[in-house]
Every structure is written in C-alpha cells, then in structure tokens.
C-alpha cells in the first residue's frame, strides 16, 4: 500500500469530523488503485473543464480497516468535489435527491465519470448507506453495463429520468420500460456498439452523459 495526500496533484480532504477542513490527510491505497484514481481524476478534469480546474476532492475514506474492498486498499468514497470557478457537487449533501435538476444532473455526471473507470459504483439511488457518498472500487471489472446489476440499473433509470424525463421507477429492475429508455438514450447520444459487452462503448457513453450533466443539458 502507498500513502498519498493528493490525487495527481489535487488535494483530498476529510470533512466528516469538520466540514470545510483543509488539513492534509495521509490516505492509503494500493499503487494499482491509486493509478486508477489518477485516470479517474484526469477524466473528471477533462469532462468538466468548463468549471475550471478541480480544486479539491473530499473523501470519506480509501483504505479503511474493515473487510472488503476498502480493507484491501482498493476503494474510494467520494463526498464532495469543488472546481476553481466555485462550482461544487456534493454527494455528502445528498445531491442525487436535490429538488434542483441541475444539481442532480451534476451528481449524475460525477457518477458517470466514476463508471468509466470502476465497475462497482454505489450511489445515492443504490441504498441508504450510499445516500451521502459515492463509492467506487476494484470489484467486478472490466467496466460494462450489466442489466442484472442493481447498481447499474438504478443509475441508468435515474439517468433516463433526469436527462429524458423517462418517468421510470428507480427500482433496480431492468424491465422493458428501462430497456426502451436506454435504447432512446443510446440513440440520442449517438452511441454505437453494445455497452453491455464492450467497456469502451460503455465508457464512451459515460463520457457523453458526464458532458451533458456538467453542462446541464437534456438529451
């Protein structure tokens, strides 16, 4: 395991004991996971460049001394992101459940960026435990969209609702209505290929969703 206080130069803070705290923290993760975090934050910078640079990330933990991916040093909990133009997105403040569509779309954009690099991404729609952070880990790779995954299905349902007003129940059940809305989304985003079997197709689709989300544009 390695120790880091920033990801590719962007500081990572901890707010669970003191909101707004900018004390340097010594986080731990495996080298391989850290390397993936670098790819993730470079994606994030590139897809959200209209906001300026990423000023900081706030996390609830990487290596955490418990069983599972956190205990192996291969997981991240995202609480908050701030950009240099003052824009923020705050899973910690349950942005996925905000009454403002623009805030929900920005959360979905962050969610989508994580899904480019991590297969198991657990968000506010997934379950109560993840209502206040987005979890991403090394499980289940490579990254594709699986209709049998509650996490992927709820994300797709929330995405279709927030960008296309699909009116789907966010229940994690990939039925005909979800399939139809997903087909429409693929078509409107000009996605060719199969996001269920091709990681590059799914990652490309997530980039397009992220761009729409950061720009607050429907599709």
């Amino acid at each position: 395991m390695i120790t880091f206080s920033n990801i590719d130069g962007t500081p990572v803070y901890y707010w669970r004991t003191n909101r707004g705290n900018t004390t340097t923290r010594n986080w731990n993760a495996t080298q391989a996971f850290y390397d993936r975090l670098v790819l993730w934050i470079r994606d994030l910078r590139s897809l959200s460049s209209a906001y300026g640079s990423v000023s900081y990330v706030v996390s609830a933990g990487f290596y955490v001394n418990k069983a599972g991916q956190h205990g192996a040093g291969t997981a991240m909990d995202i609480d908050h992101i701030r950009w240099s133009n003052g824009t923020t997105t705050s899973p910690l403040d349950r942005a996925h459940a905000s009454g403002t569509q623009q805030i929900r779309r920005r959360y979905l954009a962050l969610d989508a960026v994580a899904r480019r690099r991590f297969r198991f991404v657990l968000d506010g729609w997934y379950n109560a435990e993840h209502a206040d952070h987005i979890h991403a880990d090394f499980g289940g790779l490579p990254t594709t969209c699986e209709t049998g995954s509650e996490s992927d299905t709820k994300f797709v349902q929330a995405m279709c609702n927030n960008f296309m007003n699909s009116g789907l129940a966010v229940d994690g059940d990939w039925g005909p209505l979800t399939q139809s809305a997903f087909n429409t989304a693929k078509s409107r985003l000009a996605v060719t290929g199969d996001p269920h079997s091709s990681s590059s197709v799914w990652a490309g689709m997530m980039s397009k969703v992220a761009q729409k989300g950061f720009a607050n544009q429907a599709f």
């Binding site: 004991t17 010594n26 991916q69």
Partner: protein, 294 residues
C-alpha cells in the same frame, strides 16, 4: 513508485516480516506444499493479517502471503497452514480448544460464510458453512465456552445487505435470529467481543463506527457512535468500553473509551490494527507486527 506530480510519501506492506533478509524478500522462505506438522518457522511476506490468537500464551496472527495463509508469531516467524486454501479469512481469535477463524469460501460468483477451527493454528478445519447464503463473516469473538461471529449477506456488488450472526454453544455453530441490529444491515462488522455482561459489536459505515451491546448475542441495543474510526478491537474495562482502531480520514492508529477522548497510539502512521490481547494492542506495519500499550 510515485506517479508524476503526486507526493506519495510511503510504501507499506511490501517489506518482509521483522528481521528478514533477502530470502524472505524474494519469496523463497515459504512453500505452500510444506505440511503443517513439519513446516519450519520461517519468515514470510504478508500483505494482510487478520485477528489475534494465543497459542501457548504467545500471540499469533494469520497472515496472507503469496503462498497462502500463514501463522505468524509476534517475532515475525511464519509457518504454512493447511485447510484454509484460498479462502477469504477476515478474523481469528482464541477459543476453547484452540483458535477459531471466520470468513467465506468462494462458490463460483457467490461466497459462503464459513467458520474454521484449529488446535495448533496450523491445521485448520471448516466447522461451519452457511450454504444458501451469499455473504461473509467478518469478525469473531469468544468468551468462556461461547463464541459469536458477525457478518453480512452481500449484494452482487459485494455491499452488505443483511446482518448475519452465528453463535457457538455446546451443540456447535448455529445461525441465530437477532433483534435490534437491522440498522446496521448495510454496514460492515469490524469488531466483536464477549464479556461477563454479554457481547459488544462494532460496525463501520462511511462516517465511523456504531457500537451495540447484547446480553446474549440475540437482542441488541445501540450503544455509541464513533466518528472517523474503524474500530477493530473492543474490551470492557473498569473505565468503560475501550476501543482500538484506525482513523478513516487518513488511517492513523487511535484508541479511546466510549464517551471519553481518543488518543493516537504510538505506532507508525500506516499501522493497521489487528486487535488487542490484555493491555496490548497489535498492529501490522510494513509487513511486520508491532505492539503498543493501550
């Protein structure tokens, strides 16, 4: 070691166990084929260590090396084990008749919560498996003749779905129904301890640890919330419930008493709490075990 532009300051977990030379560092010290009874004590690289158990009064932990699970003594010497194979082992403790370990064995895409027991810490035998459940046991504690293991069923994405409690009594291990723990269903159990007054369990969510107590392991009452710590050891002392663990904002070594202040434990920054025996806490540091008074 570092990515350009980042300021990585330390690599841990890659060193050999205490006092090791080149032989261990190149991975030649241990052979998975060695039988438990004849395996010589030898140093080994471990990337993970779980639990603490007493053998002949001496503290040991289970370490995961490239060759599989090894029994590691406090001086760093390690011996190959049999019976654990490639299992996910999450905790180990002393129990009447030897040691008990908990975790899961893989069954295709699923994992079966499992319990193993051993007289000597080297030869392990699976004594319970919860077939039909997809999940894992993450902690085990014992007191007197009883033992209690806590875990969770898991989602496809391996997130905790529902609490599992397994209790050992004279008849053996059995899944037991519980009340009062449902609020912890989606959290990971990280410590359990038994005492004269019953059982104490700690579970970890994104913010910290939640402690609950039970007279019998069946009916539970929430006791305390500890922000910014993953508790790995609980003990009932005259001063109250003492805990030991790692911070979550960073991972510093910390200890405290529920309801009172916490303090850092004087071990290296990357030390990972393994547990406590009596008044000493044990930590994995750079592949080595170190201890401190708590």
């Amino acid at each position: 070691m570092t990515s350009s532009g980042s300021r990585l300051t330390r690599r841990s977990f890659v060193g050999a166990v205490a006092g090791l030379g080149a032989a261990a560092a190149t991975g030649t010290a241990l052979h998975g084929t060695a039988s438990a009874s004849t395996a010589a004590a030898a140093p080994a690289k471990v990337d993970r260590a779980v639990g603490l158990g007493l053998l002949g009064g001496a503290v040991h932990t289970l370490g995961r090396s490239a060759e599989g699970w090894v029994l590691v003594a406090a001086d760093g010497t390690a011996r190959a084990t049999t019976g654990l194979g490639g299992a996910e082992v999450n905790d180990m403790t002393t129990a009447p008749g030897g040691l008990v370990a908990v975790g899961a064995t893989s069954d295709g895409a699923r994992s079966v919560p499992s319990v193993w027991e051993s007289v000597d810490g080297l030869a392990w035998r699976r004594t319970s498996e919860l077939t039909g459940l997809d999940g894992h046991l993450t902690v085990v504690g014992s007191y007197g003749s009883a033992a209690l293991a806590v875990g969770a069923s898991l989602t496809l994405e391996r997130a905790p779905r529902q609490r599992i409690v397994v209790r050992r009594d004279a008849a053996g291990w059995a899944l037991v129904p519980t009340t009062g723990l449902a609020y912890t269903d989606q959290w990971t159990a990280s410590a359990v301890a038994g005492g004269a007054d019953g059982w104490t369990v700690s579970t970890v969510d994104a913010s910290g640890s939640s402690v609950a107590t039970s007279p019998d392991g069946l009916d539970w009452t929430p006791s305390a919330q500890l922000v910014d710590v993953a508790v790995r050891s609980l003990a009932t002392t005259g001063a109250g419930i003492r805990w030991v663990g790692n911070a979550m904002g960073g991972s510093g070594a910390v200890t405290g008493v529920v309801g009172a202040d916490r303090r850092p434990v004087p071990v290296p920054q990357e030390a990972q709490a393994l547990g406590t025996v009596g008044d000493r806490s044990y930590w994995l540091v750079d592949g080595r075990i170190v201890s401190a008074t708590v």
